[in-house]
Structures are given as structure tokens and as C-alpha cells.
Point group: D2
Chain length 290, copies 4
């Protein structure tokens, strides 16, 4: 008997293994519907689904369309919603009603709606998710940096954005510095201040000894580098964004995950299966003195 929770993944282990090793795409692409399909993000999602042989875009609806009708008969496995805050939860409930797993990327739907959607998905035995940030490389970079945090005593973070960005540092840079310190259980990095300062301010910001430097210039979209230093070496992790399509891989990963696991996700980290650095044990947290 087929486990009903395994959705499209009813292949026996051996066959899955064989498919994993194969360069050809799976025979049956995942069937995906999109709501908010004519919005800036929605258009990119539709284009990406059509370009990837692992997916099929079986329905595309926007604000004036009847989503229920669009889903009906489309045999969608997942609905991706990038609509508007007032419509997103309703779209997701419509999907669940037709046994379609919702993946909501629309921000600002509120905690109550997330709780409701989680409950409805679980009751229906369906995967789903409400995920506020789909930037694959940013999520990975922060996680990798956490994993390194205990092994180095010097750290500098550089982020680059266009000149019209109003805040400094970027939210990602600040969050990165915070997570580095959490991974070190608060133990600060070494952050020497200059004895002689021939131009004020060049040492930048510091959070727990992690230097933070914000560049604002024409050219970059959204870049971040974390540089760790130790005797005779540096280890640098750098995420560069070159296009607004940078959220696409995260969305596709979430679509795969909700079908494969029938779980409910609230962050891209969960989708990607990135275990918190703290869970990886004491040794991970530090190569320093106990």
C-alpha cells in the first residue's frame, strides 16, 4: 500500500536512488500553481517553473481570477502564492481545500494566519509553508558563518548595496553578526582599535568584536562577505546577488520539500535542512580553550 503522505514520491528507495544519480530529470515534473502570477515576483516564478524540466506550471492566477476554478482540474501538487497580504491566506485555504499544498511567500499575513494555515495543513495531512525570505545564498552564508564562528578569533563583515538604501548596516549583516556571537555563546572576537586615527571612523561598526562595514555604491545589488582570520590565513564567505531572480532557487526548494516531506515550514533554513549550529555539539561551537 502506498503511504498517502509521500505524495508524488511513491517510488521505492532503489528507484529514488537511481533517479538521484541520474542526470535526466524525473519522469513526472511537479505540478505547480501560482497565485499573484502577474506580479513582479510571480512572473519570475512562472518563468522559472517553465524553464525547469522538474516542474510544470499548471495554473497561473492573479487578483481578479477565480483561484478555486483555476485549481480545479489542474491537479496541482503545490500552490505558490506571491499575491498581497489581504489575499494570501485566503488563497492558501482555497488550495488546502483542494488538497494542494500552499507555499506562501507573500509577507505581512500575520502570525494568526500562519497558525491557522499550519493547523489546516496538518489536519489535512498536507505539507505547506509560510516563508518570509527566500534568498538561498543569504541563508546559507549565515549558517556557514555560524559553523566557522568558534574556529577564528578575527572576523570582519562587509556588505555592499546601492546608494539609495536608507539603512546601514543591512539587516542581513546585523543578523549575521548576532548569530556569530550566539554561536560563540557571547565570547567576543578580538577587535583592536587603532592607537592613531588619521581619518575618523575607518574601523567601522562592531558587534561583539565582529567588524561591520557598509559600502554604498552604484553597481552592487546586495552583496555580503564574512572574512575570518587566523595565523597565516583567511577564510572568506561571499554572497553576491546579480538579479532579483535570486529568490527562485529557494522557492523551488520549498516546493520540492513540501511534497517530499508533507511538513509545514516557516523558514528557508528548515526547508534546506540546515541544523542550528548549536545542535551540532560543543566541538562545533569552538576550537578554542574550554
Amino acid at each position: 500500500m502506498t503511504d498517502p503522505r509521500s505524495g508524488g514520491d511513491s517510488l521505492p528507495e532503489a528507484a529514488r536512488e537511481s533517479r538521484a544519480r541520474s542526470p535526466v530529470p524525473p519522469l513526472s515534473p511537479l505540478r505547480v500553481a501560482v497565485s499573484g502570477a502577474r506580479g513582479r515576483v510571480g512572473r519570475e516564478i512562472v518563468a522559472a517553473l517553465e524553464a525547469d524540466p522538474g516542474f510544470e506550471c499548471v495554473a497561473a492566477a492573479d487578483v481578479d481570477d477565480d483561484l478555486g476554478a483555476a485549481l480545479s482540474g489542474a491537479s496541482a501538487q503545490v500552490l505558490v502564492d506571491f499575491s498581497v497580504p489581504t489575499a494570501a491566506a485566503g488563497n492558501a485555504l482555497t488550495a488546502i481545500g483542494q488538497r494542494v499544498r500552499p507555499v506562501v511567500g507573500t509577507t505581512g499575513i500575520g502570525d494568526a494566519a500562519v497558525t491557522t494555515l499550519r493547523g489546516r495543513c496538518e489536519a489535512a495531512g498536507l505539507g505547506g509553508g509560510v516563508i518570509p525570505n527566500f534568498a538561498l545564498g543569504a541563508a546559507l552564508l549565515m549558517w556557514l558563518a555560524e559553523l566557522c564562528a568558534g574556529h577564528f578569533e578575527s572576523c570582519e563583515i562587509i556588505e555592499s548595496h546601492h546608494p539609495t538604501k536608507l539603512d546601514a548596516p543591512s539587516g542581513t549583516a546585523l543578523r549575521t553578526a548576532e548569530r556569530l556571537l550566539e554561536a560563540r555563546r557571547g565570547r567576543p572576537f578580538r577587535h583592536p582599535d587603532p592607537r592613531t586615527e588619521t581619518l575618523p571612523g575607518t574601523r567601522g561598526g562592531s558587534l561583539g568584536g565582529a567588524g561591520v562595514h557598509s559600502l554604498r555604491l552604484d553597481g552592487p545589488v546586495a552583496d555580503q562577505t564574512v572574512i575570518f582570520g587566523a595565523a597565516g590565513q583567511t577564510l572568506s564567505l561571499e554572497h553576491r546577488t546579480t538579479s532579483r531572480t535570486a529568490f527562485v532557487p529557494g522557492v523551488l526548494a520549498a516546493v520540492r520539500a513540501v511534497v517530499a516531506t508533507e511538513r509545514f515550514y516557516t523558514s528557508l533554513e528548515e526547508v534546506l535542512g540546515l541544523p542550528p549550529a548549536a545542535s551540532l555539539g560543543r566541538a562545533m561551537a569552538s576550537s578554542e580553550a574550554p
Copy 2:
């Protein structure tokens, strides 16, 4: 009875936690002896031990010295050996005989000697290790790259060394590519070949679709970059070596580890507590289709 020389390891958990949070060094530095102390590497080890308040160099012996006499009365907790293949195992056994944990960095001592040393350490209830490569950043870079391998379909590796290096690619680059493929269970990266080639060979080498490019030029010591690409973004991991002291942090981490855990280590990855990517579960191995 608690060995009085084991220093910080006999502290109760709460006290250790408090010290971990403290920016001041532990009260009792680790007491370390060095054999091969006048060799190129040994000299750097001695200098590093003297510069770091967490350590004390209590004995330094070289080929013509009587190591047993040097250790006697020195109350060393660890012997670091960077001598010669013919002397290293004997030095380690001398250390164990005086209840000093051996950390052997000398290469070429043979598998039989490693087995013997492991047995003798375990019988004595002492930590120890034989570790052929102490490059902290290189070990971390390979591990981080493994963790990323399943999340990207494009990968290019660039390594840079001085012009007199005789082999290409570097052993580290080749091993990195192999480990990336293992982490993907053999699923190759996308590696498009050019339709028109206006200069032969510019696409470099390829192992399972991971491009490998070897730069040979004056200036670099030993650098490696792994670049992953996805829609609208790249994630790059870069290790740069600026000095032959790059092995120092790995040696110091091993010294701490053998005292703290009384285990026997055969790789820097174990010392650093880097769990194999495969052990982190299916989700870690891939954000791709099953």
C-alpha cells in the same frame, strides 16, 4: 584521583561555562613540550606557544636531545612532534610512558605506528593523535563546500599556487571536487562546454561537472576558491594562505582537544568536530529533486 596536571578539565561544568564566556585566558595555561623544536615547523610551534597566554612551552627538544630527560619534571600535558619519520613514533612512545599525550604532525610514520600509538594511548587512558595535515582553513573550506554541494547546480573551483609547483591541480582542489561529488551521491554539476572555442582549453578541468582551474603565478602561497552559482547569485568560499604559520591554529586546536577529550584523533576534521556532510541527513545532501 584527578590528575592535577589536567588543568581546566577538572572544573565543574558551571565553572567551565563561565570561563568560556570570559575574555580573559584560563588561569593555568596548557603545558606543552615540542620535539623537532629546531626544525622549520617546530620553531613556529614554539613561537606560537610562547605568544599565546593559553599555553606554556615547558620543554623543547631536537634530534640530539634526550627527550625522556627533557620531559622528566616538565609536567607537560602534551608533546607536539614535528621531527623526522624515523624518530616520531619513538618520541610519542616516550611521551606516553611519562603520561604525556602525543600529537604527531610528522608525516610518513606508517599505518602500523599509528595503530600502535592509538592502542598505547587508549591503554593509558590518554588522548593523542597522528594528524597529517593541520591546515585549518583548508579543512573548513572542504567541509563547508560539502554542505553547500546539494544546493547548487553550478560549481567552479579555482586554486592558485606559485609557479614552481609541479602538479596541477593541487591535491586539495582534487579532493574538494571528489568530496563535492560524494556529498551529491555522484549527481554531476551542470558543466556546459562551449560550442565555439576561440582559444583551446579555457574551460579548464572537470570532475563530475565541477570545473577546476589551476593558476600558477608569483605571489600566491596556496589559495583556493569554490564558487557555487544559482539563479541571480553566487556563493563563494575562499581560503587564502599568507604564511607558513597557517598550520599553527590546527596544532593548537589539537593540543586543546587531546587534553579536553582524552580521545585519539587521526584528522583535523575530527579535532574540529566537523561531522561528515552525509551524517547531517538527507535534507543536507540536496535541495534538489529526490
Copy 3:
């Protein structure tokens, strides 16, 4: 008689100096018309002119519009043409007939048309230009690399493009390598081949000893790095493209130049005033033995 439309160029030297030092934009923005205004490039040009206080977009025409009528009364100083090869030369002649300087970016108009346009501009005492490539950073990078070519004996070029690019290396990388060799009067760089090759091809391509490496991965738009090596150091020049608007600064520079100098330009290098490396004298060409 001074042409009243020539704006800032009729100011006395002192006034120009004062304006050059001033952070405020010139009082009279340059008046620019655009043909091909609804094409992919044309739209970006119009947007850039409107965003920059130094310019005013006074006419925007496309294939079905009457360019002569659009220019009439618009008092344009320059026509920027990004239309189609069959229309571009005619558009430029229409502009000259109304004493408007043509800047043609449309490629493929043929050498004869360039000669004709140059002659007509010169006869009318007007600046103008036909410029096939407006990538500011690429032009500067090649020129800077030429200036360095004689001072280093090691050189490696890395270019990165998206996976669907059909040729390798990029035309810019090949042209860069050629120009480096010209600047060295054919003297090759040192390019050691490996004695042991554990993966074939990793040393990449070579033109006169300049290594050339082509990366093809999702993420990058069009990047190039030239790395020079010498004892104990590297000097790297890197151009990164993050958007198709990268041609805009070159177009704006050409618009300024044709008004300021009333010369006729056939390359961005001329517009930018980048003297050929060879013209900067023997010393520039080499710090090596004669």
C-alpha cells in the same frame, strides 16, 4: 558666433573650474534625443537621461515615428541612436541636417556608413560618433591591464558568464590577452606547465603565456578579472557586471564628449581619453630588462 546651444562649453576657464569643483549640477542640462527609444537599450537610455540632472531627454522616437519632426523644435544637442542597422545611418543624417550631433550605438551599420557620417559631421563642424561597445568598465579594465603588462611576468585572466554563453573564452578576455601581448611587444609571460597532471586541462588556455580561464555558471552576468603576480604580491583588476544598464555611463560620457569637443569618435576608449599604452613611452611598456 558661438552656438548658444553648446551650453557649458562657452564658459570662461575660471567659471568651468568653479563648476567642476561644485557638487551641484550644471545649470543647463544637455538636451538629448533618443531614436530606438522603445527598444530594450533605448528605454534604459531614456530612463537614465531622466534620472540624471545633467541631461534632459527632449525627444524620444522609435521606428514608426518621424524623427525629423520629433527633432524639429526640440533644440536637441545630441541624438543617441539605438535603433536597427537599416535605420541608424539615416537617423544620424537626419540629426546632422538639423545640427544635432549623432551618437550611434546600433551595431552593424557598416564601414561605409561610418565614413559617410564622419565626413558629414566634419563638414558641419559637429561632433559625433559610431561606437560599437559602450561598456565603461570593460574598456577601462583592458586599458589598465595594458598599462600593467610590462611590470609583471605572471598573468592569469578569469572570465565568468552564464551557462548559456556559446563561446569560450569571451571576446573581451581574448582581446585583453592580445592587448597585453601587444603592450609587451610580444614578450610572453611565464606560464609553467605542470609536470604531473592529476586532472587534465586545469591549467586552462594560454595566449602568449597569459592564462585564460572561462567559468560558466548560473549567477554572473559578465565578469572579468586580470591577476598579475610578482614576488610576494598580486595586483588584480576586476570588472563585474550586475545589470544590463552597464552601458549607460559610456553613452552619457559620449554625449558629453561630442558636445564638449565637436570631435568624431569611433571607440569608447577615445571618448574616455585613454591613450594607447604604447604612446606612453618605452618606460610604460616594461620594467623588465631591455
Copy 4:
């Protein structure tokens, strides 16, 4: 008849051209003496001369040696002095007395001594030089950055040094920012300040709108990057130091230059033949509005 000004370069133009094109070293290596030969720098100079087939180290003297005797009969063409301030000028005069061109790298000899040495060299028809900084890549980087300064409206400078450096920013970073502004005749770069600052100081220092960021971490020796931004692109110039031998190429270039030209040099820029950006004309200084 041999032109007396051409020194060791008495080959006719055709022969020189042929040698310039040839990959083999010149038949007669330049004959060089070193004073301060056992100092930290002097030892590296001696080693570099011995490793390069274009040079021969014909004498090596240190503080207790009789330099005059060492030079006598050595047929040295050039004396390289890295001794001490109190001895350097005397060493140089001894060299001139034996018709050996002095290249003084010892710092702190005073302006009067420089004037004396220049006069004595000119009177003797000999080349020579007193050059306080031989860092090839740093000199080139500053010059290239000057050449770019007028073509971009965004600029950020990042310099990285080891944690024990006492001043920030580095002297080179400050000088670079000053020269960028001089090349722009004081016209500042755009340097937006954040409206919201979630961590103070991350925008770093600013000189005329060029951002300056100082990183202090284990690993780097002395690195500097200048990043210029424009629409859709960045152009980055990066100098990395990996060893204290980084001064060697500059010294060798100076040795060649004093023989080839019989001029007297007071900066590496002159030796390298880097014309001041201002001398390259108005167009070079700016692609911006006049």
C-alpha cells in the same frame, strides 16, 4: 662609437629590440653590489639577485666590511644600499667614487643627503636614486586608481592589515584617497549617509566622499582594494601582499632603470615611468560634465 649615456645598454636599437622580444635572458647580467647585505631586506635582495639570471651579485658588504675594498675590482654597475641611515649616504658616495650607480632604499637619510647624491651622480654622468618605498603593486594601484577617478561617482577603499598595526587607516589608503581627489580636482564622490543606523559607524571613514574601511585581522599582511561603482557595474583594483619580498621587483626595476637611463630617481613612480594622471590631459581627469 659608443654613446656614453647608454651605459651597459650599448647595443644598437635593432639588437635591443631583438632582445626585448626574446624569452632568453640577456647575455650579460647586470652586475650588482649590496650594502647592508646581512640585514633583513639585504638578505632578500642578495637572494633575488642570485635567483634571477638577469643579475649577478658581485659584492655583498655589511656594516663592519670595507665597502670600498669590496667594490674594488668587482666591476659592479649598481650598488643597492639597505643599511642604516648613518651609513647609507657614505656608502653611496663610495660607490659613485668608483663609478658605481647608487640605489639607496635606506630610509631617513635626510633631504640634504639626497641633494648631495643627486649632484654627485649628475656630475659623474651616472644614474642613481634614493627611493623610500619600493612596493611595486602599491605604487601601481594608486596610479591606476587615479586614472579611474574621473570616470566613476562612487568609490570605496578597503584596506586589511594584521591586528597589531597601530594606526588606521593605513598611510597608503589615506594617500590613495587624497590622490583620487586631486585627480578629480577636488570634486567629491557621492557618499550617501544612512537615514537609519542600526549599528553605529558602519559607513566607515570618508575623504571627499571616498569611503575608507580598515580591517584588522589575523591573516593579511598588507592588502588594499579600491572599488569604483557605476550603473550596473563595479571596477575593483586590488593589491595583496603575501610576503616581505614584495619590495624586490621594485628594487630590480630601479637597478635596471639607473643603468638604462643614467637618470636620478626619487620615487618608484618615476622608475616605473608612471606619468602623473594630471599630465595625461583633461579627458583623462574626468568623463563627467565640465
